[in-house]
Amino acid sequence: MKLQPLAIIALILFAFNAYAHDGLHEQIVAVTAEIKKSPEDPGLFLKRAELYRLHKDWRSSERDLNKASKLDPKLTIIDLKRGKLFFDRQMFRRARIVLERYTAAEPGAFEGALMLGRTLAKLGDESAAARSFTRAIDLAPLDSVEIYVERATALAAAGKIEDALNGLDAGLLKLGPLVTLQTLAIELEVDRRNYDAALQRLDVVAAQMPRKESFELQRGEILLKANRACEARTSFLKAKEGFEKNSTFRRNVPAVKAQISRLERHLAQTSTMNCN
């Protein structure tokens, strides 16, 4: 029995792929064995389709989804699985169609809302994406910081800064004073030149942190943008005091080095000011 060259190449490629995703491959083999025992179980085909998708074996994944659909045409979850498959393949328009159908059929499904939000964001329909993210947040099984950020980013991209900030504040209320949400909120406040609000938010973050110097630097930079140069200089001097107490190690951390460099520039820039 002679193997054809193409077959040999395919075998090598499969072996390489299998090796690269050992855990997935094991599971595909296991589910395939289950399918042999229960060839009419659509759940098993769905399970294997998901594993094939993670394995980036799009064709096999689609084939299993088709099979599951044939076995049980009423299974709405197939649309979610197809949506995820299209999303991974960056076929966002097709993903949108099936995910919209899925979320209409299953309005209480968290993952459907989340995937639709991400798909709409990729398609540039930020307002619709934000609505979908809001639904995902309402349905979120876990307190997911990421979805709040994704929603705010979509809203900001759609020019709805106020809504974006309200959304972040809702997250802060629910999840606590998280630096991840407040950082984005500060950026948005600065972008819309609402400097006092940005400073207030910065104070909230800084209050929780033992090291204040980087926040003093940021405070000074916001004040500079607000044309409050003397207040800015006061903040820069406080930041300088803080950085000088840092160990040599900290002062050499690239991120801190960059901050110190910015601080020195700002101090030089504000040195000739008469702030008395």
């Binding site: 090796y19 690269a20 995703h21 050992d22 855990g23 997935l24 599971q27 296991a30 998901e50 594993l51 993670l54 968290f110 993952e111 989340l114 995937m115 099984p141 876990l142 307190d143 997911s144 910081v145 990421e146 950020v149 999840l175 606590g176 004073p177 998280l178 630096v179 991840t180 949400l181 950082t183 929780q208 942190m209 033992p210 090291r211 980087s214 160990s247 040599t248 190690f249 050499n252 951390v253 690239p254 991120a255 801190v256």
Partner: protein, 529 residues
């Protein structure tokens, strides 16, 4: 007729009592230990209220915390504790003590922030097989550890195969490690099998149901707002748990924003990070081809290294792979260069010296970290095991034991048979050590058909020893170590060579500061047979 009726009633009452008797079906197990608090969790067969009694001596539990809510999943946060103190405890309901109040149920609170109290951590990765393999790894550790208190218990993900279901968690975690779980707080990171491969896990995911992990900096660090990634402090060490499975690993993502903030606020000298997907591996997974591994390496390591991370632990590959002390390797394995090794040795005190992070360049970040894959606590799956960043790669079952004592970290890979198959030491602080001068005047003289004698001149007075390296052929460059000899030694007999063959030798001096440049190479040709 009265007697049979009485018997029936008696049996019915007895059966009801048995049926409704509260028993602990899971735990107790400890979570989120800090210097002032500890969470005690357990599961019961029937819903009851919850109570933990605690005190400084078994038999004398003077304080208690209760929760009136009826539940089978009990969770009591004991607060107001004194740092670095031993507490005994019992658990149950307000009417029944289910267990404890004996010498077997106790814990130590964490030391105060920054205290240099020695501590031990036990680390298992991909341990969730619930079989003889996992048991042998566990028993090897319990035997090795003896009566020493284990301060921290880390799980590197894939804690319960195959899909992280509740029964699988029961078998692979709670029934597997009951002794350590009731004495030592467990800190876990999430693996692909804990979510059944999902990147958007559902609300009832057993991993999140079973564990209580920090979301609001309950044990130190900066609040992450999620149990998926978090940090905590233990004495003079800062531990960072990341989520390589379900959270975005992209630059600017919430996890990385949080990470930078957390690191910028850290005040502890030791930084130990852990997550599931390893940045470097050539075991059952390949860090050159898999997206989670690539992204963690490319996006997370630059941040961690710039803030001075010391040790990174991961699983996923079912093997043990441990790197040199390295820095700056963010590409695929073929881009690894010798210059990325901050120390070309194994970090073994008795052989080539420990890794000294301030030895070469004092007080600077990016002085190197050790990366360990410890994913063989439940099974081994082989692989090529040849990642060039690794000092050692083993296809053996085992776990890691880490001891931190002030400015010293000792790590061991403990095999399932009780032997220590790898060890290394990292030392921080102290005066910088300057590497020794290179030895000079290496000569090679053939003595027989298999022995070549070497001699050289010692050009330094601060070496810890010399490393002799050899390769075969006149133009060879693939030097491999032949032997290490002590300080002041200037001769060596290289045995076991092939007859009538040419070998190329070079010698380097070393100390805690690193290796000298090698001598100019010398050639020796063995005699014919």
């Amino acid at each position: 007729m009265k007697r049979p009726l009485f018997a029936v009633v008696l049996i019915a009452v007895f059966s009801a009592a048995v049926l409704f008797a509260q028993t602990a079906t899971r735990g107790p197990y400890l979570q989120m230990g800090s210097s002032s608090a500890m969470t005690v969790r357990w599961r019961t067969s029937t819903a009851t209220d919850s109570r933990v009694q605690f005190g400084n001596a078994a038999g004398n539990l003077t304080q208690s915390v209760s929760d009136a809510a009826l539940t089978t999943e009990h969770e009591i946060r004991v607060t107001g504790l004194i740092a670095n103190t031993k507490y005994f405890y019992s658990f149950g309901s307000t009417s029944t003590v289910l267990g404890g109040n004996d010498s077997d149920h106790f814990f130590y609170t964490s030391p105060n922030l920054g205290d240099t109290v020695p501590f031990r951590a036990w680390i298992v990765g991909d341990s969730g097989t619930a079989d003889a393999n996992a048991r042998s790894v566990r028993d090897a550790y319990l035997s090795y550890n003896g009566a020493t208190y284990t301060n921290l218990f880390l799980m590197l993900g894939d804690n319960a195969y195959n899909s992280g279901t509740d029964p699988e968690y029961q078998a692979a975690v709670f029934d597997m490690y009951p002794t350590i779980l009731r004495r030592t707080p467990l800190w876990s990171t999430i693996g692909n099998h804990d979510t059944s491969q999902s990147t958007n896990p559902p609300s009832d995911l057993p991993y999140f149901q079973a564990f209580t992990l920090p979301i609001a900096a309950e044990a130190g660090g900066v609040a992450s707002g999620t149990e998926k990634y978090y940090s905590f402090d233990y004495g003079n060490a800062h531990f960072i748990c990341l989520d390589s499975m379900t959270s975005s690993r992209a630059p600017g993502s919430p996890m990385l924003t949080w990470l930078e903030s957390d690191l910028s606020q850290n005040t502890q000298p030791w930084i130990i990070a852990f997550w599931h997907h390893p940045p470097y591996t050539k075991g059952s997974h390949n860090s050159d081809t898999e997206v989670e591994l690539i992204e963690m390496r490319a996006n997370v390591l630059p941040i961690l290294e710039s803030w001075g991370v010391d040790l990174v632990l991961a699983g996923h590959s079912h093997s043990y792979e441990r790197s040199y002390l390295i820095d700056g390797h963010y590409g695929i394995s073929t881009t690894f260069t010798q210059a990325m090794k901050k120390n070309p040795g194994g970090g073994r005190e008795n052989i080539d010296g420990p890794y000294r992070k301030t030895a070469v360049t004092p007080n600077l970040p990016n002085q190197g970290a050790v990366y360990a894959v410890a994913g063989s606590s439940g099974k081994i799956s082989g692989g090529t095991l040849n990642h060039p960043a690794m000092f050692i790669s083993l296809n053996n079952l085992g776990s890691m034991v880490i001891d931190v004592n002030n400015d010293r970290l000792d790590a061991r890979f403990l095999r399932e048979n009780g032997t220590v198959a790898d060890n290394f030491t990292i030392i921080k602080g102290g005066s910088p050590v300057i590497p020794p001068n290179a030895p000079t005047g290496l000569t090679a003289f053939r003595l027989s058909n298999s022995v070549i004698n070497l001699s050289w001149t010692d050009a330094s007075d601060n070496e810890d020893g010399f490393k002799i390296e050899r390769c075969k052929g006149v133009t060879c460059t693939n030097f491999t170590p032949v032997a290490i000899v002590g300080a002041g030694v200037t001769t060596f007999a290289s045995v076991g060579n092939r007859p009538n063959a040419t070998y190329r030798y070079r010698v380097r001096a070393f100390n805690a500061g690193g290796y000298s440049m090698p001598t100019r190479s010398a050639f020796g040709r063995t005699m014919k047979k």
